[in-house]
Amino acid sequence: MFSATTSQIRDSHLVLYLKSHPLQAFGFAVSIISIVMAIIGPYIVPHSPTLGVPGKHLLPPSHEYWFGTDVNGMCIFSRTIAAYRTDLVIAVVGALMALFIGAPLGIIAGYFDGKSGFWGSVSLAILRIMDVIQAFPVFVLGLLLVAAFGPSPQNLIFMIAVANIPGNLRLARSEAISLREKDFVESARAVGNSELRIAFHHILPNAITPVIALLSVVMGFGILLTAGLSFVGAGVRVPTPEWGSMIASGGTTMITGQWWPSFFPGLFMALTIFGFSMLGEIITVLIDPLERIKLSSGSDT
């Protein structure tokens, strides 16, 4: 099954779903392009994304500078495309960290929920810690962490991870709670598996799919958070190409009529976030076996 024939691709659930859902298909295309841009973006841009040309500041969009230039004479098109890598890497790594820390802890918290003994207290402690993290408004927590550890991309990643661990954890926990009553868990226990082994070897693989579907939503949110913090000067700084700080640098010229320095990065950012939220929707639908059967049998959802 490693090489799919054309007919296999044509009849795959993904293609069937995208054919009947144009909006999701658009979002799917956008997210694929975004990922490609994050990989090759900085190599294909026409001008340097980090060097300004003296005397060429605030030029309107033209044949040479498609999106115009900003206050520093830097090419906005090149910066917008190069920013894919900055924003996506921060958001993707942050979201993955939230998944890799949140999901296993959620499994423990869920599987041992309400039980006595050591793991029962661990489960309780995890939940109480999450309660405390979630008490902070997300943006304020971001500001606090950036203030304490400095505004570097690594710390933004850390901040996105911390802010999103509770959500990932609670989702994995609720899955684990509903799974632990199932027969296959009982059988695993009957043949002598240890409790921890049941939790990670039998429950985790079954509980992980919805958490993975959440990944792309967390990524979109991570982009918004990164850009937001950079916008107020507590994130990535110029000259690193990043959408939020680009929008900020165009904010002051907007009022004097130069709209292009802010408009283009924001537009690309909005498209990317929309793409990832659609991707999340697609994954959520396609991991549901009932939806897959509906798609194959040709009935509309």
């Binding site: 902070f136 927590l141 606090l144 203030a147 009022i255 802010s262 909005a270």
Partner: protein
């Protein structure tokens, strides 16, 4: 009363949360690079002077002792003094909070008033090209609105409606320069203008509120619409609604039943947005130079204003928790199942 018993039980969870928040805030703020005593003293004071300030601030004590001092001060309503504004932090926060709350609350009221009825109506739409188109547009809006960065949308709207069309006043602050702001009674500009009968100020503040309120209502209304639509659809499938339909109840009554059943999930979602916006509104605030709570938070971070950061974080977390208690009360009032829980 039963409500009190219910709230008391919720309190058991809230108090450890507040203590945890205090502890974490305290520890992280201690990790912020830079010596607060040195910052307050300025560069002209010698090392002995700085040492004196350090001692007076209690910074020479061991960390647990400092924490105890800090908690004791909080209980006395003392959040420390900001070295940027020179005022007590609590005073600074209370001065700016109403400005931000006014913005957020207005935006949420606007989007709730529009989106909840729209979302519930949409589940009842009959066939016909126009209805189908409206539903498609609503779905598109619900899915796409949250993708717009609010600060970007705010800038674009400023360009269109202020720079090009000139329909709105200049997007700086809450009042025109020529207008005398109302005498401060509550800190909510609209309320103050009404109470003091300052109609010029009222007109000015309303025209300045249009764009920021619209931006927030538009961006966060998408989620509210989606939640309303999803939960209305779910409720519509439930047995008691089918029964009501079979019995031939008028559609108006059924819609009322459904909206009532939707309130808890809409309320929860709104509370989450509210909590997010307590800090998150700073983006729109700073575009419009609104000078609220969020801008104070950012300013304190940029200036390493330790006491202010600590105060802002603690205050907003507690505000967040209070919001959730408020939602619990709404739950309690709407959902008879909780009332009968005992």
């Amino acid at each position: 009363m039963k409500l009190w018993r219910y709230l008391r039980r919720r309190m058991i969870f809230i108090i450890p949360q507040i203590l945890g928040v205090t502890l974490i805030t305290f520890l992280i703020v201690r990790m912020i690079p830079g010596d607060p005593a040195r910052i307050i003293a300025g560069s002209l004071v010698n090392e002995a002077g700085v040492e004196l300030i350090r001692e007076r601030m209690g910074l020479t004590e061991p960390l647990p002792v400092q924490l105890l001092y800090y908690v004791r001060n909080i209980f006395q309503g003392d959040l420390g003094r900001s070295w940027v504004t020179g005022n007590p932090v609590l005073e600074d926060i209370l001065l700016r909070l109403p400005t931000t709350l006014e913005l957020i609350i207005l935006a949420l009221i606007v989007s709730l008033a529009i989106m909840v009825p729209l979302g519930i109506r949409a589940t009842f739409s009959k066939g016909g090209a126009l209805n189908r188109l409206t539903n498609k547009l609503l779905t598109l809006y619900g899915m796409a609105a949250g993708a717009f960065p609010d600060f970007w949308l705010a800038l674009i709207l400023i360009f269109v409606f202020y720079v090009v069309l000139g329909w709105v006043p200049s997007p700086i602050g809450a009042f025109d320069i020529a207008v005398v702001p109302p005498h401060r009674l509550t800190g909510f500009y609209i309320v103050d203008s009404l109470l003091t009968g300052n109609w010029d100020a009222l007109k000015s503040v309303c025209s300045h509120l249009i764009l920021p309120v619209f931006v927030l209502a538009f961006v966060y209304g998408g989620g509210i619409l989606k939640v309303a639509m999803v939960s209305a659809n779910e409720v519509k499938k439930s047995d008691y609604i089918s029964y009501a339909t079979i019995c031939g109840l008028p559609e108006k009554d059924i819609q009322r039943y459904i909206s009532k059943a939707c309130y808890p999930s809409v309320a929860t979602f709104t509370a989450v947005i509210f909590g997010f916006l307590i800090g998150g509104a700073v983006l729109v605030e700073s575009v419009f130079s609104w000078g609220g709570f969020g801008q104070y938070a950012v300013q304190s971070v940029v200036n390493s204003d330790f006491a202010a950061i600590q105060g802002v974080v603690l205050f907003s977390a507690i505000l967040n928790l209070v919001t959730y208690i408020f939602v619990d009360i709404i739950y309690y009032m709407v959902d008879p199942r909780i009332k009968n829980l005992g």
